[in-house]
Amino acid sequence: MGKSSLHVLKGLDLEIKEGEFISIMGASGSGKSTLLNILGLLDTHDAGTYHLNDQIIENLNEKKAAILRNKFLGFIFQSFNLITYKNALENVALPLYYQGMKRSERNKKAMQYLDNVGLKDWAHHLPNELSGGQKQRVAVARALVGNPKVILADEPTGALDSETSAGVMKLLRQINDEGMTLIVITHEEDIAEMSDRIIRLKDGVIVSDQKVKKVKVKS
């Protein structure tokens, strides 16, 4: 946790509309994670402006940031970041706990979201009893359960094999189809191809911003 400041992002303009499915690509050190962390209010920007849901984000104290994260943002991490001593259901219910929802209510809702990702039968298993794909599905359910505006996913398939990755991406696609805004970081082309718009970063600036041609056949 170094204190030295390093300018990672060197000025970028980006507008993401509601309901978009965006992937951010770039080599290591290109600033893609930093961008995502700033978007997710996990990190702070020192220059420029950031509007989230038409609300300018500045001089945010940690309490306000926490409330905004809880209300508007859902996170999916490469290393899942599930709490190891809580079972799948409890992990999914955690954002609702911080929303102040009653236990019975939040367990019901969490179970419903676990069911949506196909893990109803695994609700009472601890994370270490689940496979990588299952863990990421739990994380997806957890990101969704609080009804956020945006889902931020940092290399959601980075720790998964290609088959499982495809499953997770299909799930994300499905979520987007239901209207959720998704921002995914990846360095795999085929993963990025599954989104609607690919933003490529290099050395802290956007080098390309293109729509993906829809190749998907609607069933």
Partner: protein, 415 residues
Amino acid sequence: MFKFIFDIDTWQEIFEGIRKNKLRTGITIFGVMWGVFLLVALLGLARGFENFFSKQFGDLATNSVFVWAQSTGKPFKGYQTGRTIRLKSSDVVAIRNNIDGLEFVVPRNQTQSQVIRGLKTVDSGIFGDFPILDKVEKKNLIYGRFINDNDIDERKKVCVLDEESYKQLFEIDEFPIGVYIKINSINYQVIGVYKPFNMGGGPQGGIHIPFSTFQQIYNQGDNIGWMMITGKPDYEIAQIEMDVKLLLKNLHQVDPEDERAFGSFNLGNAFKQFTGFLTGIQFLTWFVGIATLIAGVFAIGNILLITVKERTQEIGIRRALGAKPIEIKQQIVLESVFLTSIAGALGIIFGGVLLFYIDNLDGVQSGVVPLVNPTVNIPIVLFAVLLLIVLGTLIGLIPAHIATSIKPIDALRDE
């Protein structure tokens, strides 16, 4: 905050955290419990020790002085140096009439003699005493009674044995009252048996017979061996000691400057020394107790710091999911308060059990070990535990603050 503490979800979160981290919880509880246990045991033992000494002195008039006569150290009014002085019964009357602030003046006499009962013998000090001795040096009687005025008036040949002589002359648990024993070939009837104190001033133990009987049998006439003088509570015994000696010098034609003619032993001074000793022990107890508490506080702080370090990532996750800093802090602090309270309660219980066990040991019950009623003051212990919790919480706020002041992304990255 109020709602937070009584919210069932809060406790479910905490119990879950505790249940899933048994080792860490166990170590925390043990560390704090040990501190409180030591404190309770220490305070209890110190109290027991104190009680023991209080009991030893309890029945003894501490505001008293012993005075006896020796031989002169200076020539005076034609008398030569080295003249032997004897205290007289008239001195007792003179002291009673002339000195302010006296409670009792108890003349005593003493000799050493062989005591015989059948084939058993014992060598013991024989004391000629008045009933008021019981007032200044409370006799702890096992059997019978002490000498009374009737014994004095009629010069009865009766005696009160000390426990040691009783054991030498009688079978175990044999009833001694009414039995005759021989002191210097003269029969005395046993009227009582007492248990001497372990400490005090002046000669202890020995066999007591009526003063008048002693004077007659040992041809003492008007002579007195020594006297015990007790002052009233608000009179300074050192002043009384000086006044009495000056009066005696006057009565016996001794140079007022003569330091050798009359000896004295001030029990008040001796008692002050013991009180000082007890104060020292109390100070030591508190010192060690407070040091233990401080160590306990640091232990809690340390463990919390480790806890928070260990859970940095978890805290990062919680924050990413929308936990406010205050919620994180409350959880850490409440968990620590909860654990500390449990540990404190266990420490008090185990400490109490230990003291109970010690109190019931044979050595303590029979008075061989210098402990009486080793107990602790419940408010003091509760205060100590409360202090431990409060200080532990305050010191625990430091890691809680660290945990919430780093950026959530840094917390998440922590491995």
